[in-house]
């Protein structure tokens, strides 16, 4: 085992940094909890029939009035906090991961192409990136939201809010990927293996994706982790600004937004438990991202 670990630089470093290991454990637990929420959670907070207003505002079990059925208490609708958080994390991660995936595909694709073709094409892509940067995320979200409402039939709109939000977040994140991919591609373009491929007469698609892409993945992976964290936070912020998800299918961000109402009312758990959960999630993702950067860029150690 020890020998096996030593064989991989990353694994070896991993076993030597307790903070990273803790972060990994937290992240994995949250991912598992989120992925298997329907099997772990005691109630389905999205199923309106499964909980009752009668159970509303119960405190966590260690506080007077708490009951064992709801370990971390309930919110104002009588939803079990644990279940809400698990489902919320599930939704947040779903949005975060898909937004990140879309942003990656879009950004890396455009960045690669910009770096590969250079010249006018590059200039156009970078100006589009500028335009995107000049449009704050909230406005992008409004735009997508509005367009979706304009063109989609009403009965699917509610179900598609997640999609809309995901797209909006993805659009405000792709520029990062595009810029990084472009810069790395410029570097790779000067390397001789790329020139060899060009001389052979290989097509641009093959060169970009088979040759260059694997070589620029390192920095992109780092951005992916950091942006996963930002996507989750951005979703929370959009929720605060009123363009997030509906309260009956809450993400972590929406839970926090709802919890804000109870900041003063004494029901502290409705705000602080999801917040603590979000902090744990974001911090561990970021810590893992930092760790990955260290592995990919040994000079920084």
């Amino acid at each position: 085992m020890k020998e096996f670990i030593k064989r991989s630089e990353g694994l070896w470093l991993f076993t030597r940094s307790p903070a990273v290991m803790i972060a990994a454990v937290i992240a994995i637990l949250i991912f598992i909890g989120a992925a298997f929420a329907p099997w772990i959670a005691s109630v389905n907070p999205y199923d309106l029939g499964s909980f009752s207003l009668m159970d509303g505002l119960l405190p966590p079990i260690w506080q007077e009035g708490g009951i064992s059925q709801f370990m971390l208490g309930t919110d104002d609708q009588g939803r079990d906090m644990i279940s809400s958080i698990l489902y919320g994390a599930r939704l947040s991660l779903l949005i975060g991961l898909s937004a990140m995936a879309i942003a990656t595909v879009l950004g890396v694709g455009l960045g690669l192409a910009a770096g590969f073709y250079g010249g006018r094409f590059d200039a156009i892509i970078m100006r589009i990136a500028d335009i995107q940067l000049a449009l704050p995320a909230i406005l992008t979200a409004l735009l997508i939201d509005g367009i979706a409402r304009g063109i989609l039939p009403p009965e699917v709109q509610q179900d598609l809010r997640v999609v809309v939000l995901t797209l909006a977040i993805a659009l405000s994140l792709w520029v990062n990927f595009a810029r990084t991919a472009r810069a790395s591609t410029f570097v790779e373009m000067n390397k001789e293996y790329v020139q060899a491929a060009i001389i052979m007469g290989q097509g641009p698609i093959r060169i970009m994706f088979i040759h260059i892409l694997p070589n620029i993945l390192g920095p992109l992976l780092v951005i992916m982790t950091v942006d996963l964290a930002s996507a989750i936070l951005l979703e929370a912020t959009l929720s605060f600004l009123g363009i997030g998800l509906a309260a009956d299918s809450p993400s972590l961000g929406t839970l926090i937004r709802i919890g804000m109402q109870f900041m003063l009312s004494g029901e502290w758990w409705i705000l602080w438990i999801p917040t603590l959960f979000l902090v744990a999630l974001v911090v561990s993702i970021n810590t893992l991202g930092d760790f990955m950067r260290d592995v990919f860029n040994p000079g920084l150690r």
Partner: protein, 320 residues
């Protein structure tokens, strides 16, 4: 170099037009201004008449054309909600947002750069790890929660700082500034910290990474080998070379600061453009939203241009 700036300007105009177009097209979807402008008892007929008067029934392209042409002539139109000239409304809010943004950015630089340098030079230290984790937690809590926490801690609990607004301001010409009174500064602290904390973390981490990179470069090794004093080595040699990429990102971040100030301003009831914009969304005040976006794009473009010029100032290799 002049050619470079000239090219930049052309591109900037293009960016602004595109933002205006995108922005304008999104307003069609935000909601119906008319129902927000009128009371409950206003008849449907009257609403329709108003809609016609405001040109909201015209085809989209002619609305956008009118908007652009008017704007190019310096006519920014009137707010649907308050009937005031949009130019005045936005102009009166610009100082608040800019001052907030600049102070937030300054906080992020003044704290972030030294922290970045420190954590780069002592990568294994306990203090470094503490700083890194604390800031990470700082950016993991949504801005709006942090803002309210600060308000309750420093405003209500300790009673040291105001909970909302800009405090006392001083007018210098058209510019309404909080920089010239104690009260103004006190009011500025909390929102600026709230807004700056995210940027601070970014700046710090960026400076740290760049600094660590630069410290490994040949010229630093050479400067070490010839015994240049450590302080000079860190701050004159290493930091200056760190600044070029850092400035780019900070420039880009300024756009982010302005955008995120929407949240901060709404939490602190800070009378800036972001607050105005949020209200405008609520009331579907299309002219205000449109101009706001163009102004934001303008800031972005100007900051980008400044960043380019700053490059030239820092890096002699670019002075052709």
């Amino acid at each position: 170099m002049f050619y470079f700036i000239y090219k930049r300007l052309i591109q900037s105009v293009f960016v602004m037009l595109a933002v205006a177009f995108l922005a304008f097209s999104l307003f069609r979807f935000v909601g119906d201004p008319i129902t927000q402008m009128t009371g409950v008892e206003t008849s449907v007929v009257d609403q329709e008449r108003l809609r016609e008067e405001l040109g909201l029934n015209d085809p989209f392209i002619s609305q956008f054309g009118r908007f652009t042409v008017d704007m190019l002539q310096g006519d920014f139109g009137y707010s649907f909600r308050t009937r005031q000239p949009v130019a005045e409304m936005i102009a009166s809010r610009i100082p608040a947002t800019l001052e907030l943004g600049v102070v937030a950015l300054l906080i992020s630089l003044v704290v972030g750069i030294p922290a970045g340098v420190y954590t780069a030079l002592r990568p294994r230290g306990v203090i470094t790890q503490t700083i890194l984790i604390t800031t990470l937690i700082g950016i993991s809590i949504p801005t709006f929660v942090i803002g309210i926490m600060l308000i309750f801690l420093f405003g209500v609990q300790l009673g040291w700082l105001p909970t909302f607004g800009r405090g006392e301001t001083v007018n210098i010409g058209f510019w309404e500034s909080s920089f010239f009174s104690i009260d103004g500064w006190r009011a500025l602290i909390l929102p600026a910290v709230t807004l700056g904390v995210y940027q601070l973390t970014l700046t710090m981490r960026l400076v740290r990474a760049q600094m660590m990179d630069v410290m490994r470069s040949d010229y630093i090794r050479f400067a070490t080998a010839r015994g240049v004093p450590m302080r000079q080595l860190y701050f004159r040699h290493a930091l200056a070379n760190t600044m070029v990429p850092v400035i780019t990102i900070i420039g880009l971040q300024f756009g982010g600061v302005i955008a995120f100030s929407i949240v901060t301003e709404s939490v602190f009831q800070w009378p800036g453009m972001g607050l105005l914009f949020l209200e405008s969304i609520r009331f579907v005040d299309i002219p205000v939203m449109g101009v706001y976006l163009v102004v934001i794009a303008f800031f972005f473009v100007v900051v980008n241009l400044l960043v380019d010029l700053l490059y030239v100032a820092i890096d002699p290799r670019l002075r052709v």
